[in-house]
């Protein structure tokens, strides 16, 4: 910069005024350029600033819009869960720091609960970590186990944070899409969407550090079968790969389906980190508590991340969660146990949504689990000509539907990488963990819409 100034000075030596103006301009430029250069984002977050939720939440924030977009229950959490938190709020000494890796009574409850499923003892201190939501567990797992240059296999569509988290760790995401089998007049189900085993194997190589599995799946609601999980497990073992298994919707499986935990498959415990969520388990997303379960040799690295990032999670929320768990752990076979009553309640809502969507020509994919339902919007023929051209169809459709029909959803291409967006651009995701009045309002909109069409 100094050299440039000198050069400029010698070029215009006779016109002092010009020289002064130019060199001061250069100084100004150099200061602000230098300043802005230094205050630029770090390389690890380059290109990760966009976030689909920020955009669509703003869109759906209009109170006249029926929000079936974000995966947020508007139903009440169970009464005893709210009660436990109220009780905890009256206890003075639960307002200070607790154990960093998880409040003792909570990790004990989690250990007791999951031992039933894993058929093995789970050490509450070494094989469990409590995090800020399942989101935090994903972050800890990726930061703790994934290195720059590693590859991580991600199944498309995927919960949107998997890709940026993998990139933030300096690793390369390797995508493989779920593909739908032909339906042939049958009702379209999430089970029709599968991975091609050969295609999946082709994604594995010596650089593959992990595969991220999500079952039940967001957004499709697919519940992976034993055979499908076995294919993944066989590949993980063959290629010595980790499995990060996001099972936040583990309790939400519908009739005829069973949630299976890949960590229980032979050879998988030692290479799997299984993630759960209080928010999804007890309909308390705002408590932001999640957990990772796995072998000590993996969990210890997630714990190292924890002690260098947030250190500990909120105490009163952890204590209340522990107490809520104890109530349901004691009655796992009881229909009133929330792990049984919630899926029952949601199955009714799911069926209602299927019927509603069909009635207006939105072709639904019936989910086997989770609380989302996908609809194919291609037959609707909405006029989207006044919207930006470069966006995928479903983005435009959702914006049009929100504005014109006052009903919001999330475009499925938001859950895709840039290469596969077009494959999924005719699909939108609706959330149905909503109280009846919300679904009634959605029904009104859809009925009016259908009347308009006919």
């Amino acid at each position: 910069m100094l050299l440039a100034q000198k050069r400029l000075g010698s070029l215009v030596s006779s016109t002092k005024f010009l020289k002064t103006v130019n060199s001061s301009r250069l100084l100004e430029f150099s200061t602000s350029a230098a300043m802005s250069l230094k205050f630029k984002n770090t390389k690890r977050i380059e290109g990760l600033d966009k976030n689909v939720w920020i955009e669509f939440t703003k869109l759906a924030a209009d109170p006249s819009v029926v929000n079936l977009g974000q995966g947020l229950p508007d139903i009440s959490p169970p009464a005893y869960v709210k009660e436990e938190l109220s009780k905890v709020a009256m206890v003075d000494n639960l307002n200070q720091y607790t154990r960093g890796f998880g409040h003792p009574s909570l990790v004990k409850a989690l250990s007791c609960l999951y031992e039933k499923f894993y058929q093995k003892q789970i050490n509450p201190n070494k094989e469990i970590l409590v995090t800020v939501g399942a989101y935090g567990s994903l972050f800890n797992a990726i930061q703790g186990l994934i290195d720059e240059g590693d590859e991580v296999i991600i199944i498309v569509p995927f919960y949107d944070c998997y890709e940026p988290m993998v990139r933030m760790a300096g690793a390369t995401p390797v995508f493989i899409p779920l593909r739908s089998k032909p339906v042939n007049g049958k009702r379209w189900s999430s089970s029709d969407w599968t991975l091609d085993p050969q295609e999946l194997e082709s994604k594995f190589n010596p650089k593959t550090k992990a595969i991220i599995l999500n079952t039940p799946h967001n957004p499709f609601g697919k519940v992976y079968t034993k055979e499908e999980l076995q294919v993944i497990a066989d590949l993980c073992i063959k290629y010595d790969t980790l499995c990060i298994s996001d099972e936040v919707y583990e309790w939400l499986v519908y009739t005829g389906n069973k949630h299976l935990r890949i960590a229980t498959f032979p050879g998988m415990w030692e290479r799997t980190v299984t993630i759960g969520s209080a928010g999804k388990t007890f309909s308390v997303t705002g408590w932001k508590l999640g957990w990772s379960i796995g072998p000590e040799h993996l969990i210890k690295h997630l714990q190292t991340v924890q002690q260098n990032t947030i250190y500990t999670c909120a105490t009163p929320l952890q204590e209340a969660l522990a107490q809520a768990f104890w109530i349901d752990i004691k009655r796992m076979d009881d229909p009133e146990c929330y792990f049984n009553s919630l899926p029952r309640e949601l199955e009714v809502k799911r069926d209602r949504m299927v019927h509603l969507l069909e009635s207006v020509g939105l072709n639904p994919i019936v989910p086997d689990g989770g609380y989302f339902i996908i609809a194919d919007v291609s037959s609707l023929d909405a006029d989207l000509s006044d919207l930006k051209n470069e966006e995928p169809y479903d983005y435009k459709f959702v914006k049009w539907m929100t504005k014109n029909k006052k009903l919001s959803a999330i475009p499925v291409s938001a859950f895709c990488d840039s290469e596969t967006k077009l494959q999924f651009e005719k699909l939108v995701r609706f959330c149905f963990i909503k109280k009846d009045s919300t679904l009634d309002a959605a029904e009104e909109i859809i009925k009016a819409w259908s009347r308009q069409k006919s």
Partner: protein, 430 residues
């Protein structure tokens, strides 16, 4: 599994003194005077605020806005805008985090790249170093050093200063940030206007970001004034100011913290935040919002918690200092925070050979010995691995317990414990 499991970014970061000492304190059933949290309840209005949050609007059980629960970002913007002398926009100048710890992590990840240098002032809160390393940065240390005290005069944290030339020498073209902590943990030093102006001028001269950890901003004694460096000329655009609800309202278990700063820096922290934890819990944020709203109404008045707490802590501080002096220990009187450093070099000369690893510093051995043999657990001065700091002297860290607040617990109980402990020790040695 044959593959290397641990990510390289975690190399050398497995050890954490708090995890170790908390475990030891539990194992030996010791009184934990080490880790910085109160053993008294948050004030009633804060407890009530939390009770309201958990029994009020149902939707507080669900996600709130990612960058902060709106009533909280609003009150933080309004409250701190006045203090920093800069209008704050709740959406662009405020980010709510999981404690100040989470705020620090977010700041480091957002702004410290591989190869960047970060100036850290010793003694420092232990996480600054591993967080710098995890971000691929290089910590560059500069020490606060005590000036010698006159005979009989009590050492004070104000006595500990940075050498301006030494500080200036630490800045290089690679320096990305400087971490400032005022009031300082563990010393309790409250940086003066002049000291902050020195730091500020160097930051501006070298175009460096200042990460200012001000969690103890309300805990200042002897009429000392906490000054936020962001309020100095030329500093707003390059400073991130970090605060903590845990330290503000004596509710460390709520784990609510925040960062205040200019949008051109905050936007990078928002990117890290949305790709790490995304949301913070709603109800604890609601409790903090209501607590601040209550405090704003009586700010500066005698009834304000921000007036009453430091007053009570000052009494505890003085009581503890007297107790320590009475057994021949030499406390450094803190101007702020709720920590107090004590010189144990007298003990070292009497009991030089405490059990421990060959290269383990004396203060760590002393503390472990204390935990195992005496009923009080106290982590040592945490920068002792850096021989440049406090050369020749070992320090012990105590935590102040403002038991003056709790009429049921006599102020003498913890101090007696220490006094008895020390008396027994020296008596047995002599």
């Amino acid at each position: 599994m044959a593959k290397q499991m641990q990510a390289r970014r975690l190399k050398g970061l497995d050890y954490n003194p708090w995890v170790e000492y908390a475990r030891l304190a539990t194992e030996y059933d010791a009184v934990n005077l080490g880790q910085g949290f109160p053993d008294f309840a948050p004030p009633d209005f804060a407890l009530e605020a939390f009770q309201h949050a958990v029994s009020g609007d149902l939707m507080l059980n669900q996600y709130t806005k990612a960058f902060g629960y709106p009533p909280l970002t609003k009150i933080l913007a309004s409250f701190f805008g006045k203090l920093l002398g800069h209008e704050l926009d709740p959406l662009t100048n405020v980010l709510v985090t999981v404690g100040a710890y989470g705020a620090l992590f977010t700041a480091f990840q957002a702004l410290v790249d591989e190869g960047d240098e970060v100036i850290i002032i010793e003694p420092f809160f232990d996480c600054y170093e591993p967080m710098t390393l995890m971000a691929g940065g290089r910590p560059v240390f500069v020490s606060l050093k005590p000036s010698p005290t006159r005979d009989g005069e009590l050492n004070s944290s104000s006595n500990w200063r940075l050498d301006p030339d030494e500080l200036a020498s630490k800045f290089t073209p690679h320096t990305k940030a400087l971490v400032l902590n005022t009031p300082n943990n563990p010393l309790g030093k409250v940086f003066s206007q002049t000291e902050l102006e020195l730091v500020a001028s160097l930051c501006q001269q070298h175009n460096v970001v200042c990460i200012s950890d001000e969690v103890y901003q309300w805990l200042v004694f002897d009429g000392c004034q906490h000054i936020s460096i962001a309020s100095l000329p030329g500093m707003w655009e390059r400073t991130l100011t970090i605060g903590s609800a845990g330290k503000t309202f004596s509710a460390t278990g709520w784990k609510v913290g925040w960062v205040l700063g200019p949008d051109h820096l905050m936007k990078h922290l928002r990117t890290v935040h949305q790709n790490s934890i995304y949301h913070c819990p709603t109800q604890t944020q609601a409790a903090v919002a209501e607590s601040f709203e209550k405090e704003q109404l009586c700010f500066g008045q005698p009834s304000s918690y921000f007036v009453q707490l430091p007053r009570a802590m000052q009494r505890s501080r003085d009581y503890m200092a007297r107790s320590l002096q009475s057994v021949g220990l030499m406390p450094v009187l803190p101007q702020g925070s709720y920590f107090l450093i004590t010189d144990i070099s007298g003990f070292k000369s009497k009991m030089p050979d405490l059990p421990g690893a060959a290269n383990e510093p004396y203060d760590r051995r002393f503390v472990k010995w204390m935990i195992k043999n005496k009923p009080t657990g106290q982590p040592p001065h945490l920068c002792s691995p850096h021989p440049s700091c406090l050369e020749g002297t070992m320090w012990k860290l105590d935590c102040l317990l403002p038991r003056a607040w709790q009429p049921s617990l006599s102020p003498s109980s913890s101090a007696c414990l220490i006094r008895r402990t020390s008396t027994t020790t020296s008596a047995s040695v002599l």
